[in-house]
Symmetry: C2
Subunit: 203 residues, 2 copies
DNA sequence: CGATGTTTTGTCAATGTTGACGGAACTGTG
DNA sequence: CACAGTTCCGTCAACATTGACAAAACATCG
């Protein structure tokens, strides 16, 4: 009796589908590629495509959770008594932005896609990041019951980072260094109660 | 020459569609109701349905932006030199949670719907709230260029409120009073740098 | 190898959603 | 009222997505 899923066969079709999809996306664009074409190229049925990927666009975003994995690892490597914001800051700065899956298709990704879709996806990533931080904090506060503090802290850190990204995205010249700087500033602002003058209290 | 959209006629069909949809949703459930049924009940074509509403489920969430409108009004009524968190706190506490559209369908809403859909929608609302707060802060800081502070502050406030809601939702007994209390605590935590001991700095 | 339980696919059908095109209804004007 | 400009709606056709059911491919055990 075969017990566990994800057999070699299934893995092969998954790879075939991904390869076929990315090739089509490159050559004719995302929206101009139908899910059926992808399936045909991979030698399977449309239905099988949807058994391996929740949606056509999911293929474009499919690798972000490997980034999350990386983040979890980086956080785990930090001393447990370090202020959480410090840990995050260190992790952010060490992030390998040039890792293959992230830059691979970055070029044609942003160009053609529906902005709403991208924004929705970014929100999803932010939420997942917040969840990851929540789990880490939970572990650090093992016994104590500080659910509210933990959740709010985690969400605020994620919010600060993605707020920095938003501001960065609206700028003209966008270098990775600028993004890192904005993230840094944003975390610092958080530590100081937002703003040089403590915006939370005073404004 | 007729210049502006939203004529009386269009308004009538929109109302008919909404009425038809809600009736069906009540009697046979949301998922068991097809968009085509709604259109037929309203005496129009399927295509027309989608001209008035972006999606079937949108009808369920369609009234949240009236809540946002209310929030904007409440914020505008506050003195411009009041700390932003104070303004938000006051607005939150004055919110008419019992206003018709919000409670109207609350019952069958949460029950049947795909949790992912609900969560995604909540994220959307959170983002819109953050945007609203950002605009308010922009106005309060008119001349000065503090884009990063403004965006991050706004996002953190929204994050705190929805974090409180998350924690509240996971509890057994959920009263509106509890939600208000959690929101209050969450905003206070934000003001104090998160946690009695300033979690941002120390943990 | 053959029986048997599991995993992966294919087939079929229904629904959700959207772009393109043309006709119907409506509004202000002469 | 006839006319021209707009807005709204119906029709048609493509995709995207998903549940239900059955055949095909595979692994395991005797």
């Amino acid at each position: 009796m075969a017990r566990n899923p994800q057999t070699a066969r299934s893995e092969r079709t998954r790879i075939a589908l991904r390869r076929a999809a990315l090739a089509r996306f490159q050559s004719q664009g995302v929206e101009a590629t139908s899910a059926e074409q992808i399936a045909e190229d991979a030698g399977v049925t449309l239905r099988t495509f949807y058994r391996h990927f929740p949606s056509k666009h999911d293929l474009l975003f499919a690798d972000y959770d490997s980034g999350l994995q990386w983040f979890r690892g980086a956080m785990a490597a930090r001393p447990a008594d370090e202020p959480i914001v410090e840990s995050v800051r260190a992790a952010i700065f060490a992030f390998p932005y040039d890792v293959q899956p992230l830059t691979q298709m970055a070029a044609f990704r942003a160009a053609e896609l529906d902005p709403d879709r991208i924004v929705a996806h970014l929100r999803q990533v932010e939420a997942d990041l917040a969840t990851a931080i929540t789990e880490i904090l939970h572990r650090r506060f093992d016994g104590e019951d500080r659910a509210l503090d933990v959740v709010v802290t985690a969400r605020c850190i994620a919010a600060a980072l993605f707020g920095a990204m938003e501001v960065w995205m609206l700028r003209d010249r966008r270098t990775l260094a600028d993004l890192a700087e904005a993230s840094h500033a944003s975390l610092t602002a958080l530590e100081n109660g937002l703003g040089d003058d403590g915006m939370f209290r005073h404004y």
